[in-house]
């Protein structure tokens, strides 16, 4: 039709969608060249390209908010008839903006955080690659292209988690010398990178299988093509392959988003530089799984219209989310390393999002759960990025990853202290003023109102998790900023290293996000209604998912009416109570310090046992290592030693020995004495003659 693959008549809309993900890759390509000239310039190249990518993401916002979508394709693997393309629908555009802007702030932070590292070029190469891959996931219009981004973030996380590949002691995670079930609980960066890559790969092969199943029936990887013609789903469900395929696809999300049972890589991923942790947890990687589910959930939910029941699929999502939320929150209560606490918290919060998306599919009002999950993704991205970057500052300045090595820092790092409170309150869900409160409340309401038979147990898990979340966040802040200075800090001061505030390039990024957590939080409900509104239109027009529109109508008329209507009283009470209990307990132990937590735990065998159980990660990590690393390696060694080297080696040895032995016998007959030859020759002739005569 046209020579150019882009339709320029509609302005540069199409091009800017491509630019969002191509720009970071372009940055990755040129960074090595800049690195040759000056290493510190690489950071600014990355920042500049991230900013350009973010700006082109913003240009798409107006169209997206008006529920327009841009779908643009170019030829790719023509021999199979596959096309590459970008799909910028409201979901993708909002996600892309979050990723772009948070990554941009993290990149700015990185220039300060990584200052003086001798491998800056490599660092920013992978950061840019990471961002590009994530945007590729968000903007792809088909599974296969999405998978490129999907593996790209896996690869980038491998490279960045193991960034400090020299495996120095200070870069490890875990406590040296600690054992769980006979295995060390102390991991080097390169080990952790490998673990992350392999564990997510397990999820990836499930996702591949799911993709292939759908492709085999639909003949396309495209999301819009799959929505347009659903005959594939009918064919698959007739063969009972639809739900397995959907669950397998979700397997990919389980791996990437570190959900149970593939959650264990996330903790060791803390060996990476903190900027990387922030990126993994707030903008890229773990959010990819949630995004995938958000991409797929309406697609599968809409199948209800043609009479296909996908409840089992959504139940799996909801329960995996709920289990992960609780499992990881409990562990977050007891760990001494600040980054690990935050990592547990991320897994747990992602669990919330999954739960909301799963519950959405189980309820009549799909859009409620969907909005809640996505809203939580947004608010989590803000406060978690802020918390991680702040934690990075602490690590940078105190020089230890243990919270027990900090303490009493509030007087010295006032800005960090304030921002950490703001973001921490978001994580805790402090009432009415934080985004975290509104998004969590929306999840509670969605779960509670879903009307599904699982609603009550899921709701209970959600509330208990919220209590724990408030508790461990308070514990973290209390341990770091309150109480007396730790021995470690005192020693530092003796050596002449005084605790001071972080540099502006570091505190400004996390300051902005912390302020946003509160700022957006104040208008939280209105913000939520905006998203809700948008999604009602989006889901309705694209997938044909109907939702009742009354909430939206009242909201636009009177603020108070909307305010009251968006809230479920039981959910609200539960979230207020959860915050109060969790924060109160945390205050008693760690801020007011009325009770010494160590003494408290040791006072009672029950508390002691439970503490140990949580500290040992429910023994899941150790069990996984025994079952999938230690035992198989042992078996492989045995197989090599006995089967390969003895049994199969027989194929080589038997002919060799037989021939050598045969040769020796033949050699023995070659005496070299002519009489004996003549003698044998005569005997031979005689035998032949006899045979002929007979």
């Amino acid at each position: 039709m046209a020579i150019l693959p882009f339709d320029l008549s509609s302005g540069f809309g199409d091009l800017s969608v491509w630019a969002i993900w191509i720009l970071p890759f372009a940055a990755a390509l040129i960074i090595p060249a800049f690195g040759r000239v000056s290493k510190s310039s690489t950071g600014w190249v990355a920042v500049a390209f991230a900013l350009a990518s973010a700006i082109s993401a913003v240009t798409l916002l107006p169209a997206a908010l008006g529920n327009h979508e841009i779908h643009n394709q170019i030829p790719w693997i023509s021999s199979i008839g596959l096309k590459a393309g970008v799909l910028a629908d409201p979901l993708a555009v909002i996600m892309s903006n979050i990723v772009a802007w948070i990554s941009f702030l993290i990149f700015v932070y990185s220039t300060g955080y990584m200052k003086g590292d001798k491998d800056l070029t490599r660092f920013f190469f992978w950061m840019a690659f990471f961002l590009g891959s994530m945007q590729l996931i968000v903007l792809s219009d088909n599974f296969l292209q999405l998978f490129f981004g999907w593996e790209g973030v896996g690869l980038a996380s491998y490279a960045l988690v193991g960034f400090w590949y020299r495996d120095k002691k200070k870069d490890h995670v875990g406590v040296e010398g600690r054992h769980v079930l006979g295995l060390v609980d102390y991991y080097s960066p390169t080990h952790s990178g490998m673990k992350a890559f392999i564990m997510t790969k397990v999820g990836d092969i499930m996702m591949l299988a799911g993709m292939f199943l759908i492709f085999a029936f639909a003949g396309t990887f495209g999301f819009r093509e799959l929505t347009a013609n659903t005959s594939w789903a009918t064919a698959m469900s007739a063969q009972h392959l639809l739900i397995p395929a959907a669950v397998l696809l979700f397997g990919g999300a389980i791996g990437k988003s570190a959900q149970f049972p593939l959650n264990e890589w996330l903790l060791e991923a803390m060996t990476g530089p903190t900027a990387v942790s922030a990126l993994i947890h707030a903008a890229t990687m773990v959010k990819a799984g949630v995004f995938l589910v958000a991409r797929l959930a309406p697609l599968f939910f809409a199948l209800a219209a043609i009479g296909i029941n996908m409840d089992q699929f959504f139940e799996v999502i909801a329960w995996v989310g709920a289990i992960t939320a609780l499992l990881l929150a409990t562990q977050g209560m007891v760990h001494p390393e600040i980054k690990k606490v935050l990592a547990y918290s991320t897994g747990s919060q992602i669990g919330y999002m999954m739960m909301a998306l799963g519950v959405a599919g189980l309820s009549k009002q799909f859009v409620d759960g969907y909005t809640a999950g996505f809203f939580h993704l947004i608010s989590h991205a803000m406060f978690k990025a802020s918390l991680f970057m702040a934690a990075g500052s602490l690590l940078h300045i105190v020089g230890s990853r243990f919270m027990t090595d900090m303490g009493g820092l509030r007087k010295y790092m006032k800005k960090t202290y304030a921002f950490m409170w703001a973001a921490g309150l978001g994580l805790m869900g402090a009432p009415f003023i934080t985004t975290g409160f509104w998004s969590k409340d929306a999840i509670f309401a969605a779960v509670y109102q879903s009307g599904n038979s699982w609603a009550i147990p899921l709701f209970a898990i959600a509330v208990v998790t919220a209590v724990i979340t408030a508790f461990y966040t308070t514990r973290m802040i209390g341990l770091v900023f309150f109480g007396n200075k730790s021995k470690h800090v005192e020693e530092l001061e003796k050596e002449g290293h005084h605790i001071h505030e972080a540099s502006p390039s570091m505190w400004i990024p996390y300051g902005i996000l912390a302020v946003l957590t509160i700022g957006v939080g104040v208008m939280g409900l209105a913000f939520e209604h905006q998203i809700h509104d948008l999604f009602v239109n989006y889901l309705g027009s694209t997938f044909g998912i109907k939702s009742s529109m009354d909430i939206v109508a009242t909201d636009s008329q009177s603020l108070l009416g909307g305010f009251l209507q968006g809230i479920n009283p039981i959910a609200l009470t539960a979230s207020l109570a959860a915050f109060a209990i969790g924060f109160g307990l945390g205050y008693i132990f760690y801020i007011g310090r009325f009770v010494d937590p160590v003494k408290f735990v040791n006072s009672n065998i029950f508390f002691y046992a439970i503490h140990k159980f949580f500290l040992n990660r429910w023994y899941l990590n150790a069990i996984i290592y025994w079952a999938f690393v230690v035992a198989p390696l042992y078996a492989a060694r045995g197989l090599y030693k006995y089967f390969e080297n003895i049994v199969l080696e027989g194929f080589n040895l038997v002919p060799e020995r037989t021939m050598a032995g045969g040769a020796r016998i033949m050699q023995a007959t070659q005496t070299g004495v002519s009489q004996s030859y003549l003698y044998i020759f005569g005997v031979g002739i005689l035998i032949v003659v006899f045979l002929l005569l007979i």
Partner: protein, 518 residues
């Protein structure tokens, strides 16, 4: 365009004495550059007709007995041919520093032995060593060119006897390279190698003869049109399958490969892993899938399962190796298992993926063998436990090896992903169409095997390149451009094909669709 393929095949053979004399008179560099240039020219000769898109054929008179001597470059043969020559060209460069060092070492060992026996105290003069090296490197490149020619000939042959002759021709240089410049018990292993592959080839010949004599012609085209009489069909198919699986080192008949890889000089490893093993895979496509479609359908599932067993077994063995080349040996076995798995998939995309996997494996494994060679050259050890932290000392090698590793693991954007996804998808497609539970399970286990592949490769990378740098490696330097140059070219290829696979898919997929239908 006349005699193009004929030149591409026979120029290396005819000019191999030139390489020898150049090496002898003008030194190692001249021989290396001559071989490189010659192979580069021949590579261009092979690529030009492939660019036109349609299949290209040349025919020449041969003896009445065997039929005609044809050279065919179609959608199946041209990717094989191109990759075989590209790899040979690049390995020719890589060989130079490695072989010079290896030949010197072998010479020194010999002198030392003599001194021990004769008690003489003669010291080696550097001039004598240089003379010896030049002499030997000439011989090496002569053998190298013949081997390249043999591999290409097998792929382009249009006649069973022609196939067989070239198939055996590539063995002989490999045997001598192994026996002259190998490690440790090289003579014994050379014999072992010759014994295994020769027995395999003879079994193959048995199948060829039974077909040729019953059909009355050895030409593929005649066999295709006349059809093979049913009474020899089964026997011939089994003979050919066994002959080819020995070449591909499938599970149980793989026992020659780890020994050979451990003992042979690294360029030979690269060449045999990157190109020679794949010739066995080529045989499957040409002889089984094309000439005996009925038998192919019959054996497809068995090949699929055999491939699966090989890929898992090879992967498990690779996990526990300490000698870096033995690790790659088992990795090659495992990867050949992938190809066999794809051959057994009985679908056009599966077969296409399988052929693409040959390409990916060549690119990836040759990079990794060059890495091994570079490390052996720079560090002098083959034991993985002796290595560590080399990424800081050899950054280019590390980056290229990582791309090679990703290619083998099938991670996008390398060509490995493009081949693996099409291959596994093909396997699944057949499983669904046939409603076969066994195929469903082999598909699933095949995906699990990719995790094993990932585990042994990443673990290897970690132990070689990451971690603390041992003290004895403090002075390690980056390899020179003879090594890094070819590595970078291969890594680049892998990424380009991974992003834009149509370069090869455009030829492969239509061909396979014509072959299998689906």
């Amino acid at each position: 365009m006349q005699f193009v393929l004929l030149q591409a095949i026979f120029l290396p053979l005819l000019l191999s004495p030139v390489a020898y004399f150049l090496g002898r008179k003008a030194g190692a560099t001249a021989a290396a550059l001559f071989s490189f240039g010659l192979l580069l020219y021949c590579t261009v000769l092979v690529i030009t007709p492939a660019l036109s898109g349609t299949s290209y054929e040349e025919h020449y008179q041969w003896t009445q007995l065997f039929g005609e001597f044809g050279l065919l470059l179609d959608g199946l043969a041209s990717p094989f041919a191109i990759i075989i020559y590209v790899v040979s060209t690049l390995v020719a460069l890589f060989s130079k520093p490695y072989m010079v060092s290896r030949i010197t070492r072998v010479f020194e060992e010999k002198i030392k032995e003599k001194q021990l026996i004769g008690g003489g105290t003669e010291t080696i003069e550097s001039a004598a060593t240089k003379d010896h090296v030049n002499h030997q490197i000439g011989a090496y490149y002569a053998l190298f060119l013949v081997m390249a020619m043999g591999m290409l000939g097998t792929v382009l042959a249009t006649n069973l006897i022609e196939f067989y002759v070239f198939f055996e021709v590539m063995l002989i240089p490999a045997f001598f390279m192994l026996a002259f410049w190998g490690y440790e018990s090289r003579r014994r292993v050379a014999l072992l190698f010759f014994f295994w592959t020769h027995v395999g080839a003879v079994i193959l010949l048995l199948g060829f003869l039974s077909i040729g004599l019953s059909v009355g012609s050895f030409n593929y085209s005649d066999i295709k049109t006349h059809g093979i009489p049913p009474h020899v069909l089964g026997l011939a198919a089994v003979a050919i399958i066994v002959g080819l699986t020995v070449k591909m080192a499938s599970f149980v008949v793989h026992m020659w490969l780890p020994h050979v890889y451990k003992a042979s000089p690294t360029p030979l490893n690269a060449l045999s892993s990157g190109a020679m093993l794949g010739v066995g895979a080529y045989g499957f496509f040409r002889l089984i899938v094309m000439l005996m479609p009925g038998q192919y359908e019959h054996f497809a599932l068995a090949l699929n399962i055999w491939g699966l067993a090989t890929m898992i077994y090879g992967g498990i063995m690779a996990l526990v190796q300490d000698d870096i080349r033995k690790l790659f040996a088992y990795s090659s076995i495992s990867q050949m298992g992938y190809i066999l798995f794809g051959i057994g998939s009985a679908s056009a995309l599966g077969l296409s993926g399988s052929e693409m996997l040959f390409i990916s494996h060549s690119l990836g494994k040759v990079i990794l063998f060059m890495m091994a060679g570079a490390i052996i050259l720079q560090v002098g050890t083959r034991s993985i436990t002796q290595m560590g932290g080399l990424a800081g000392k050899m950054p280019i090698t590390a980056v290229c090896s990582m791309i090679g590793a990703l290619t083998l693991m099938g991670v996008p954007p390398t060509s490995g992903f493009m081949s693996e996804w099409t291959m596994f998808y093909g396997a699944l497609q057949t499983a669904i169409q046939q409603g076969s539970m066994i195929r469903m399970i082999t598909f699933g286990l095949g995906l699990v095997a990719t995790v094993i592949t990932m585990a042994y490769i990443l673990w290897m990378i970690k132990r070689v390149f990451f971690g603390k740098l041992p003290e004895h490696l403090e002075n390690t330097k980056e390899a020179n451009w003879y090594v890094t140059g070819p590595m970078m070219v291969l890594a680049g290829f892998s990424v380009v094909i991974g992003i834009y696979p149509d370069i090869f898919f455009n030829q492969i997929i239509p061909f396979m669709k014509g072959l299998v239908g689906v």
